[in-house]
């Protein structure tokens, strides 16, 4: 067996260039995410946050550079090795992406059926625990089309946690949630991070939520095609000299900034 988890980073991004064909969105990104950290990717709409995320978890092939997940290179991995890396993390897509033909419980148990030897009752209990964590326990028999958009997102988080991955990628988890549910979700994320050592990599715009949970943020900028700020969000808000960062954290309208 290979020396697993020898890396001290959950995710290690090396000289990553993100884009589509000749359209380069982000150039030469370098950053690392520590194990157990809540790491938030910020940036204006359309700057390539979601594209970066899809490159990180290997859905898209980067134009250049490497992404190491727990020390293993997902960019070059093939076949069984790649599949193994794929099961070490969970992903929540922006729109939820639940399987429309299955109810919530079946959505969560699907990956367990494929990868574990638990019995149906055990899987159901485990899936109910996940649904309980996101506050959807009473809705286990509902179909995705029967619940609201915010609930679909939460169900998608439950599904992403199905195999208790060490890393969770969440694409805008709290967008469109009411403040109470959003706060509940933040506290669940913190509990999971603190108690189970799960690493979170989150794309988010919700400033309140970012201040509450983020250990570290990186801020992307479309014009700079890269990272323009990195660190603790509260520190960045109070001390950053960069007008773009200042503007973002203090919610200043674009026409007032110049």
């Amino acid at each position: 067996m290979t020396a697993l988890n020898s890396s001290t980073f959950a995710v290690d991004v090396q000289n990553l260039t993100v884009g589509y064909g000749s359209n380069v969105l982000m150039q030469d990104l370098n950053f690392t995410v520590n194990i157990g950290e809540i790491f938030v990717i910020l940036g204006g709409s359309g700057c390539g946050k979601s594209s970066l995320l899809k490159n990180l978890f290997g859905l898209y092939q980067p134009l250049a550079g490497n992404v190491l997940i727990e020390g293993q290179n997902i960019t070059t991995a093939q076949g069984a090795e790649r599949q193994k890396i794929m099961t070490s993390f969970g992903v929540m897509y922006q729109q939820g992406a639940l399987f429309g033909s299955m109810n919530l419980l079946e959505n969560v148990t699907l990956f367990m059926e494929e990868y574990t030897d638990l019995s149906q009752d055990q899987m159901n209990l485990l899936a109910r625990c996940k649904l309980d964590l996101v506050g959807l326990l009473p809705y286990e028999t509902y179909m995705p089309s029967e619940i609201s958009g915010g609930m679909q997102k939460r169900a998608a988080i439950a599904r992403a946690m199905a195999l208790d991955p060490k890393i969770l990628f969440l694409d805008e988890p709290s967008a469109g949630l009411d403040p109470i549910t959003s706060a509940d979700l933040d506290s669940t994320i913190q509990d999971l991070s603190k108690n189970l050592g799960i690493t979170f990599i989150i794309v988010s715009h919700e400033l309140a939520s970012i201040y509450a949970i983020a250990d570290k943020v990186i801020m992307l900028d479309k014009g700079a095609k890269g990272i323009i700020a990195e660190g603790d969000p509260k520190v960045l808000r109070d001390t950053s000299q960069d007008p773009r960062v200042h503007q973002f954290f203090n919610r200043i309208m674009s026409k007032d900034a110049a």
């Binding site: 697993l4 033909s101 996940k130 089309s145």
Partner: protein, 387 residues
Amino acid sequence: MPINTDSSCGQASIAKWELSNAGTAKVTITGKVDVYSLGDVWSRIREQQDAWLKTSGQHQLTFDASAVSSFDGAGIAFLIDIEKVQQAAGGTFTLIGLDPRYEPLLKEFDPISNLFPVPAAKPQRSFVVSTGIAAQNLLDDIHGLVSFTGHLAADLFWSLRHPNQVRWGDFVNAAVQAGIAALPIVGLVAFLIGVILSFQAAIGMQQFGAVSFVGPLAALGIVREMGPLITAILLAGRSSAAFAAEIGTMTVNSEVDALVTGGLSPIRFLVVPRVLAGILVAPILTLYADVISVIASMFTMLIYGIPFINFYNGMLSAVDVEDIGSGLIKATLFGIVISAMGCLRGMQTGTGAAAVGISATRAVVSSIVMIVLVDGIFAFISYKTGF
């Protein structure tokens, strides 16, 4: 007895079941407890617990988690399961040695009885109720069809009076997709039908020495019936399904709702251009199919020693302009029915990704049913009027 399973991560989780006396048992779990290593351990501990709980007397269970190196959500579910079974049997459950960092997570699931819902009995529908529901669905469908036809007719007339307000861009797109893109497949099928029809007719006619009549027969059959019908069925398969899927996806994404709340009629906006495209494309494609089919028939009859000129003369004596016109009018009606059914099923799409597929299927089935219905009505009118 220690229970050991292979873990994907090297350290296996081991669970030990010990019975100190008949009423007191202890589960000790060690190592890394995760969803991959737990399956076997969980089932076997539960088997022993169930067997023990069947014995009479007190049941005091201690769960020792002090030697656990790491725990995940599955481990917590395992704990909860054991505790729940103890509670249900009236026994006691004591957890010792759990790392305090897992306690907040365990608290999240309090009270654990919520995790074990009593399965609700499924409501049984009697035969009468299900028949009633089916009848109601049929009535609703007919009502939807009638109301849609009315709206469509009104909006088509409106478009005639306001031609500048028709979405001609959409019309051209739909006409290209349904028409020009369908030329190869319609041509291929028409050619093969022409060949098959002539061969089959020739086999029969040969017995009566009437091979020379195959040409007029095939040409008449193609122009009046086969040309319009095969074109319509191909259009139903291609374009009706495409319209249903396109409008269905728009319905799922609330785009149709956005039109309605914007004060625009989805029928005028989405359906009228497509129906107009159907009206234009269906007769043209039919004419094209007629020509290809007749040419195919001519070549086939060459095999039976009928020269082109004889076939041509025979065809002229049998086929009038009226016959071609009758076929093309029928084709136009088919075109309306096909595009309208595609659009109607698209607008009736429910929610979810599967709904779009269902709509496309329904569009094809309803289109073909309507084609046959229109064809039947047309045949009756032809018989009565001689047209």
